[in-house]
Symmetry: C2
Subunit: 274 residues, 2 copies
């Protein structure tokens, strides 16, 4: 069970390093693709998050908003960090992640230092979901699905267990509600942390899958708020769309850690097939 | 009842104009303050939205993410728009709004052209709330409140009627739930549109008011998604916090128009008193 930056697949794939010029360098890893060689948007945001904290006096990305300019490809990438105001509580910066074809995402980052032991005055309770062992392992059961399920390369790195209540579409029985819930964790046992939550905030298929509409939904703009340091173990991810109309959809995520603490929220605007 | 850009208070206060240099100019209006001369964050986002559409082939701001670098003051301001990729469906840009003290907000904008007659495949229903006439007019009843209510200058421009179910705090009976719901509209009758929704997405007091904790909660980062063109009439705004902890809170908004169509969503990270 890898526990440090040197050995986990996620840490290797999101590593950024200083170079001679002002830009940081990264190697975008083809293993984090979601089909057709297109890299997962959350993965790209984690790479940007690592650049943000490297250039900040603070340790954690607490608010990250990204515009997705075009699909990112695996290979060498640069990260340009423009620092904004920084203080004792938080720091702002603007990050551009570019691959060899040009800018892929621009990110507004707010970094801060989250407390490990803050007791919430108010926190949204975790929904009532069966434990991971009673949920559906998509990777192990893809061949049983009534709907052909193409597992993305990323599924080798992130294990997911789908709540049976939101998995009926895989058995050929779509729901009226665009909602998906799943337990997720890294396959190699790396514990979740704020950088991991940036990936988990875009880890599920489009929620329109739940209603029987399979199809890719490219992210246009994604905001992730990291609210707390997650405890070790599985995280519960809930995604729901509030409106699907005219070729646009939103994906609204809430993520709880294994203790039931809300640790992240995200919302994205995505394009859908009309 | 003003119906055009020349006469409504909102259009005057958010006007941007071209000048000799590359930056657009605006005059930030002291009338849109929320106390202490600090301008409302939604108002500032509307000014940026106007700059975004002025420099875009598309008509509507559909996704706007802003980092709030410091409190903005009334007076002359510049807007620098850096165009990103633009296509038939959408265009990206980055906007910096600066007052005489320097940058106030940076905004990632996505503009597009929303259809006036698209029928949603799925849309979140409006909650069951009494009509505006059965809701609480805070401006007219501020003197009756058990809790001293300081109405911001902005309340002269935006009328609000608070759902009695989320107004018990004003009568000295705080709730356990950080939720506020209110009907809102411009006082001078200007109809709502996508630019107005950017202001409505930050128009209510902090939801911690509902739990009896009065106090300013400066916005750190705000994302607004505009999902549809609102019908004329009141809009219903619902705001809720999902977690208040360690000096941080979120404010999660949904906005429906008078026909019950979900027209906007927003989420912000804010600082709270600890």
């Amino acid at each position: 069970m890898p526990q440090n930056d040197q050995t986990s697949a996620f840490d290797l794939a999101t590593a950024v390093r200083r170079a001679e010029g002002p830009a940081l360098l990264a190697d975008l890893d083809p293993g984090w693709e979601i089909g057709g060689g297109i890299l997962n948007g959350g993965y790209l945001l984690s790479v940007a998050g690592r650049a943000a904290v490297l250039e900040s006096p603070h340790e954690h990305p607490v608010a990250m908003s990204a515009s997705y300019l075009r699909a990112g490809a695996a290979g060498p990438a640069t990260l340009t960090v423009t620092p904004g105001p920084a203080g004792r509580t938080l720091a702002h910066s603007l990050i551009t992640l570019a691959d060899e074809g040009g800018p892929v995402i621009t990110v507004q980052a707010t970094t801060a230092t989250l407390s490990a032991d803050a007791v919430p005055e108010y926190t949204l309770p975790m929904p009532d979901v069966p434990g991971p062992d009673e949920c559906l392992d998509m990777a192990a059961n893809a061949h049983l699905a009534a709907v052909p399920i193409q597992l993305p390369g990323m599924a080798r790195h992130v294990e997911s267990r789908l709540d049976p209540a939101t998995a009926t579409w895989a058995l050929g029985q779509p729901s009226d509600h665009p909602v998906l819930r799943a337990w997720v964790r890294f396959a190699d046992g790396r514990p979740a942390d704020p950088l991991a939550l940036l990936t988990f905030a875009d880890v599920l298929p489009p929620t329109s899958f739940a209603t029987g509409r399979m199809g890719w939904a490219p992210t246009v703009q994604l905001q992730v708020l990291v609210r707390a340091l997650p405890a070790p173990g599985w995280c519960l991810v809930e995604a729901r769309a509030s409106e699907i109309a005219d070729g646009w959809s939103d994906e609204d995520y809430r993520i709880w850690d294994s203790t039931g603490r809300l640790v992240a929220q995200s919302r994205q605007l995505a394009r859908t097939a009309r």
